[in-house]
């Protein structure tokens, strides 16, 4: 416990990190001066073992992580195989990154560091670590760029093609996803409420709804293109079809989520259906509805992109991806994928933020206070 005030897991990570650095140092001995920065990293990393005697500040681990990553990237050979000790550098800097992130979140939890700001640093570090590992592995292990290009190539392509990427984003996200998402979610909500009012409708629609929701979207896409034409309308229609059922199913489940005694209360007021809905069942369904909104936010984007595989005007993220694969412009494909990931995550994040505000009372949000 007080050996370095680290948890067992952090301690294990620290050992791994310093151990890998030490091994890296040993393996780099045959030609020590060739990459000085990397040697410095190995030496410092191995020296971090002193934490066995006296604690090391968490920022020092952060600095080591950064040093390792930078040294490694700078030292990457342009061609040919990578020397063995580079792999140890990768392991060591990954372990330092992990250790840093562990300690950072422990510090936030303990209240030593502020949540805002620091909370954001952690996923960013994780993402950057992924990118560095990706870069090192693709380049170090000579993965054919037509299978998986290194992030640096993707980034360069991204910067070179911002016009195309923006036009595709507008076509796919603004024109297809947003209207389709709004229509699909609203329709799902409305039908759920209508169905909920009538047990007959509910008994009839739900099994069929479940059946329809299981229709594979890729099957729907060519049909929608056939029905609604090549432009964004057919993509929006696919998005509507994709988002409708999750919303329907979730809302129906959510409308039943109010507890027995909460319903009894409404019953004693002889509240009419509409009042029970507005004052009890919809609020209680909030967590479920948001669940659907979140699931749908990623589904909508995928739906629109996939639908573009089946015929489009020659603009759009899905179009670019499918032709990009055909032309082996794989870095452009990944640049589009990056746009999709950023747009989708931001969309999801916005909805998650709204959720926190609206369903603040749910145990999973307020930390379970009874």
């Amino acid at each position: 416990m007080n050996r370095t005030s680290l948890t067992t897991m952090q301690f294990a990570l620290a050992l791994l990190a310093s151990g890998a650095a030490a091994l890296g140092l040993v393996f780099s001995l045959p030609d020590p001066g060739s990459v000085p920065l990397l040697t410095v990293f190995f030496a410092l990393g191995a020296a971090a073992m002193v934490r066995l005697i006296r604690p090391i500040n968490l920022w020092f681990d952060g600095a080591l992580m950064l040093l390792g990553a930078v040294a490694l990237l700078l030292a990457l050979p342009q061609t040919g195989a990578m020397p063995a000790h580079f792999w140890w550098a990768l392991v060591a800097s990954w372990a330092f990154a992990w250790l840093f992130v562990e300690r950072l979140s422990a510090a936030i939890r303990a209240g030593h560091l502020p949540e805002t700001g620091t909370g954001l640093v952690i996923p960013v570090i994780f993402g950057l670590a992924l990118l560095v590992a990706w870069e090192v592995i693709t380049r170090g292990a000579n993965v054919p760029p037509v299978l998986l290009p290194p992030p640096s190539a993707i980034g360069a392509r991204f910067m070179a093609e911002t016009n195309i990427l923006w036009a595709d984003f507008v076509q796919t996200f603004i024109k297809s996803v947003l209207p389709g998402y709004a229509i699909g979610c609203l329709a799902g909500l409305a039908v759920a409420i209508a169905v909920d009012r009538s047990p007959f409708l509910k008994a009839g629609v739900m099994p069929i709804g479940n059946f329809m929701s299981a229709l594979p979207i890729i099957g729907i896409a060519p049909i929608m293109v056939m029905w609604f034409g090549f432009d964004w309308q057919s993509k929006a229609a696919v998005v509507v079809a994709m988002t409708f059922f999750p919303m329907l199913v979730n809302t129906v489940a959510g409308l039943n989520a109010a507890s027995a005694i909460e319903r009894d209360l409404m019953h004693t007021y002889a509240a009419n259906n509409w009042q029970t809905l507005m004052k009890l069942r919809l609020p209680a369904a909030g967590p479920f509805i948001f669940n659907a909104l979140k699931i749908n936010s990623t589904l909508a984007l995928i739906g629109a992109i996939v639908a573009e595989f089946f015929g489009t005007p020659i603009v759009g993220m899905g179009f670019r991806i499918s032709t990009g694969v055909g032309r082996l412009a794989i870095d452009l494909v990944w640049a589009e994928i990056a746009v999709a990931a950023v747009a989708g995550s931001a969309f999801y994040g916005v909805i998650a933020l709204i959720e926190r505000g609206v369903t603040f009372w749910h145990p999973s949000v307020r930390g379970g206070r009874a």
């Binding site: 409404m266 019953h267 004693t268 004052k279 909030g286 009372w361």
Partner: protein, 274 residues
């Protein structure tokens, strides 16, 4: 007066609640539970009836049946001359549940305003009534808090305020003061009596406190479990106007003793049935 079936003969107001041979059985995976059996009871307008009996004897179940939250499996029950369902639809009663049942997404004042919203009171009137009832239960200052930020007793008081906020003629109260200390309890007891005297409400009140039952009621119904049934109905001979210190009078103590006896008689420890 203690014969169950004839207990109503001596009163003459119009019947608010009339139960005849009422029975209710819960089926469970593991055998039926008879929660009520053969209950005969008439409650007139303006009565203040307390229900007392061992835990699990069917008090809550009986109140819920009146409120049309459970359907009797035998016998008949009428409320204000209507079926319980019609009475509920006519918004004949206010109900205080044994658990507070506050909605977690509403602040305390919004929880109390809930029935008012549903019954269509104007915003101004809502605010006025919420303020008044929150004062009554001594919760002022907690208007904007959420239920989970309140102590157990405070939640219970909020739920009482909610039931009092609209003026139902029939109040069904299931251990409303169970989680309150003696002082608040005394205070709310006398407030409740005042309210009752002023408004001529009919009140059905479940309690475990014999003094509370005697102090408040015009009639005390003693129940016993397995199967839940009415074993005694005691008419109070106390005057309608009851200062707190009436609780030291011999008359009061005599009634309390009678209730205690009825309670003990229906109790399993003495019966050795368990």
């Amino acid at each position: 007066m203690s014969e169950t079936s004839s207990a109503t003969a001596c009163t003459n107001g119009p019947a608010v609640i009339r139960a005849e041979n009422l029975g209710l059985t819960f089926p469970t995976g593991d055998g039926d539970i008879v929660a009520l059996s053969d209950v005969n009871l008439t409650i007139e307008k303006g009565d203040f009836v307390s229900f007392i009996g061992p835990s699990g004897c069917g008090k809550t179940t009986f109140l819920r049946t009146i409120a049309d939250l459970e359907k009797p499996t035998s016998g008949t029950l009428s409320v204000n001359g209507m079926s319980p369902e019609e009475a509920r639809k006519a918004r004949a009663y206010g109900y205080v549940f044994q658990a507070a049942a506050l909605y977690p997404w509403r602040t305390i004042e919004k929880n109390i305003a809930l029935p008012l919203e549903i019954m269509g009171h104007s915003a101004g009137e809502q605010a006025e009534r919420v303020k008044r009832t929150m004062e009554l239960v001594n919760l002022s200052g907690f208007e904007k808090k959420y239920p989970w930020q309140l102590s157990g007793g405070m939640q219970q008081r909020a739920s009482i305020a909610r039931a009092l906020s609209f003026d139902a003629d029939l109040l069904l109260m299931d251990e409303p003061f169970g989680a309150l200390d003696e002082i608040v309890r005394d205070h709310l007891n006398s407030e409740l009596l005042k309210l009752w005297a002023r408004t001529e409400k009919t009140i059905c009140f479940v309690t475990h406190s014999i003094p509370e039952a005697v102090y408040l009621s015009t009639r005390i119904v003693v129940m016993s479990p397995r199967p839940g049934r009415v074993t005694d109905i005691i008419e109070s001979t106390l005057p309608r106007d009851r200062p707190l210190d009436i609780r030291e009078t011999p008359e009061f103590l005599a009634i309390a003793a009678r209730v205690r006896e009825g309670l003990r008689a229906g109790h399993s420890y003495e019966e050795g049935s368990v």
